[in-house]
Point group: C2
DNA sequence: CTGCCACTTGAAGTCGACTTGAGGTCAAGA
DNA sequence: TCTTGACCTCAAGTCGACTTCAAGTGGCAG
């Protein structure tokens, strides 16, 4: 468990050094010392970063996460919060599935214009109703 | 097909007037005239807004959409683009499904810490590998 | 001992999609 | 005619998660 310098952490985790500094400032990770100016991290920070990546991918914000597993590395994450996130994801998945099916239908649909296709119109209605209003960022 | 004033469009579509002005500025919708200062819209703008909502929910950016169905209201949307988006959604859905299953597992898992559970660790690894790195915004 | 240069800091900039605010205008009701 | 108040314009602000920049520092090779 020898300390890793920030560049090494960046290399191992794929997280840019600027982001590591940012995360430290936010209290999401902690350095264990310095060599000169240079931050040193415990090797376990790599797991921690993986956990953060997981959280981000699940839709947690950085603020949520700093509240959720504050301080202790061996975070005991509240199972209810996890379950709630899983449910939220479930909803999102349903929406996106509807979207995807609708889009695929539109691809093959022979109506003169998408706007005249009943299936597409159902999609539109759903979208307009805000049911499908999940604003997503692009995947990596 | 009598013109609707901006407030009426906002009421019918659920889209705030400020957003309608913003969309017009971006060329995503067009007003057909004014009554005094007040914009007037063709009633079909409501369908257009539904289409825009659909696009947003599918992951199109506003810029993409203004390029995609520029000008013509009766937009003939390129089927290849639609298919590509559907595929993209498919990928996202797979990722989120993996996330959800992992989270659910973590909820019930009896390992002393999530970090010691093999299933959770697989998730972490996947997340760290960036496979699950889809950055999403919260649903409405 | 000297330079190099990757690291340091704090502040500012970026991106997308809007929202908010200040100050102005005009159709309609009293 | 006057007032009201919702709309108008244009500029600036917001939010989250970072990235970039300018200026400074210090470990280490030569």
């Amino acid at each position: 468990m020898q300390p890793l310098d920030i560049t090494e952490v960046a290399r191992r985790s794929g997280v840019p050094a600027s982001t590591l500094r940012f995360y430290e400032e936010k209290g999401l990770i902690a350095s264990i010392g310095r060599r000169g100016l240079r931050r040193l991290f415990d090797a376990r920070v790599v797991d921690r970063l993986a956990l953060l990546a997981l959280g981000r991918a699940s839709g947690f914000s950085l603020d949520e996460m700093s509240r959720l597993f504050a301080g202790n590395g061996r975070s005991r994450i509240d199972r209810r919060v996890l379950a709630a996130k899983a449910d939220e994801l479930d909803g999102t998945i349903k929406e996106l599935t509807a979207m995807r099916d609708g889009l695929r239908h539109a691809v093959g649909c022979r109506a003169p214009s998408h706007l005249e296709c009943p299936t597409f119109q159902r999609l539109l209605k759903a979208a307009a109703a805000g049911k499908l209003g999940a604003r997503r960022k692009k995947a990596l």
